[in-house]
C-alpha cells in the first residue's frame, strides 16, 4: 500500500474519490432520502457519525480482531453505532426520524462504511483512520447536499423549507418523487464527466502548445 500524507488521507474522500459521485457507493440513501435539503443533511450527519465511530473502534481493535471473522466484527461494530444513531435521532428530532424511516437502520448496509473499514481503518493507526473517516463522511455529506438542494429547489421551489421563487413558480414535482432521484444523480454524473473531459482536453492542448513552444 502506498504511503500517504495526513492531508491526502483527509482530502481524498472529499472530492477526488468522493464516495457517491466517483465511487458509486452508498447509493441507496443518496437516492432515497435526498428529496429535501433537511433530510439530506440529517442523513449525511447520521452517516458521518456512524462512519467516524466505527472507524475509531475498528482502528483501535485492529490487532485484536482475527482476520477470519473481521467482516462480521466490522458489521457488528457498525450496527451498534447505527442503533445509537437511530435512538439518538428518535429522542432528539422525532420528526426527522419519522421522515427518514427505515433508511436510518439501512446505514448498516451502506457499502461505503464497510468499505472504509476494510480498506483503511483496519490497517492504519487511529489518527489516520479518523482523518479518512472525516474526509469520506464530508464527501458523502457534500454529495447528498448537492442532490438534496437540486431536488428541493426544482421540485418544490424552496430551500430548507423557505420558498424561493414566489407564488407563480410551478414546482416540477417529479424531482422530489423517486424518478427525480435517479435523474438528478444521472445529470450530476454526466455534468462531472463532461467537466473532466473538457479539463483533460484543455490539459492536452496546453501540453501540445508547450511542446510546440519548446521545439520552436
Amino acid at each position: 500500500m502506498k504511503a500517504t500524507t495526513p492531508t491526502q488521507d483527509l482530502m481524498r474522500g472529499i472530492w477526488r474519490e468522493n464516495p457517491v459521485l466517483v465511487q458509486m457507493l452508498g447509493l441507496c440513501p443518496a437516492l432515497a432520502v435526498t428529496n429535501t435539503v433537511a433530510n439530506s443533511l440529517a442523513m449525511g450527519i447520521a452517516t458521518f457519525f456512524v462512519l467516524l465511530g466505527s472507524s475509531l473502534l475498528v482502528s483501535l481493535l485492529r490487532h485484536l480482531i482475527p482476520n477470519e471473522v473481521r467482516i462480521s466484527a466490522y458489521i457488528l461494530i457498525i450496527a451498534t453505532f447505527v442503533t445509537v444513531a437511530e435512538m439518538g435521532l428518535e429522542a432528539i428530532v422525532p420528526e426527522v426520524h419519522k421522515a427518514l424511516g427505515a433508511f436510518i437502520a439501512l446505514i448498516v448496509v451502506n457499502c461505503m462504511i464497510l468499505g472504509r473499514q476494510e480498506a483503511f481503518a483496519s490497517k492504519r493507526p487511529v489518527g489516520r483512520a479518523l482523518l479518512d473517516a472525516v474526509g469520506t463522511g464530508v464527501g458523502f455529506l457534500i454529495a447528498l447536499f448537492l442532490m438534496g438542494a437540486f431536488r428541493e429547489i426544482i421540485g418544490m421551489g424552496s430551500f430548507l423549507g423557505q420558498p424561493l421563487f414566489g407564488p407563480h413558480y410551478e414546482p416540477w414535482v417529479v424531482m422530489i418523487l423517486p424518478p427525480g432521484g435517479f435523474l438528478t444523480l444521472g445529470a450530476l454524473l454526466i455534468a462531472l464527466s463532461w467537466f473532466q473531459k473538457r479539463r483533460a482536453a484543455g490539459a492536452a492542448t496546453a501540453a501540445a502548445l508547450a511542446a510546440e513552444g519548446g521545439a520552436a
Partner: protein, 192 residues
Amino acid sequence: MGDLFWILLSAMIVNNFTLAMFLGLCPFFGVSARVETALRMGLANIFVLVLTALCSWALNTYVLVYAPYLRLISFIVVIASLVQIVEMAIKKLSPTLFRQLGIFLPLITTNCAILGLAIFQTNRGYGLAEGLFFAVGAGLGLTLALVLMASIRETTELSDVPDVTRGTGLVLIIAGTLSLAFMGFAGLLSAA
C-alpha cells in the same frame, strides 16, 4: 386472501423495491449488463428474501419482544449466517444450482433490499403469511426491474449515445425513466 394478493402486487409493482424505494441498487447497477445474469440474480434474490422473511418473523415473535434494541444487530447477524449455511447446503446438495446461484448469494447478504425487507416487515407488523407474500412480491419486483434494465442496457450498448453520457450516467437516466413508468401503476391500488 385478497389482502395477501394486494401485498404481493404492491411490493412487486407499485412500491417496487428498486425503482420506487431505492433498495438493492448495488446489484441493479452492478449485474444488469446481461439479461441472463440479471435473471439469475433476481431468482437468487427471491430465495434469500423468502428466507429473510421467515427469519425475521421468527426473531420478531420469539426473541425481540424481550430485547427490541437488539433488532438491527440480530437481523443482520442471523441473515448473514443463514445465507452462509444455505450456501454450504446448496453446494453439497445440488452443485448445478450452486453454480447458477453460487456467486450471487454472498453478494446478496449485504444488499439493502434484504435488511430493508426485514425492517419494513417489522414496521408494518406483518404476520407470517403476509411477510412471505411481501417477500415474494419484493423479489419478483426486483427481478422484473433487473431484467428490464438489462434488456435496455443490451440494446443501448450498440446505439450511438453522446460520449459524456457513457457509463453510469446513462444507466441512471434509464433507471429514472423506468421509475417514471412504474409510477403510472400508482393508481392501481387506490382504484381497487
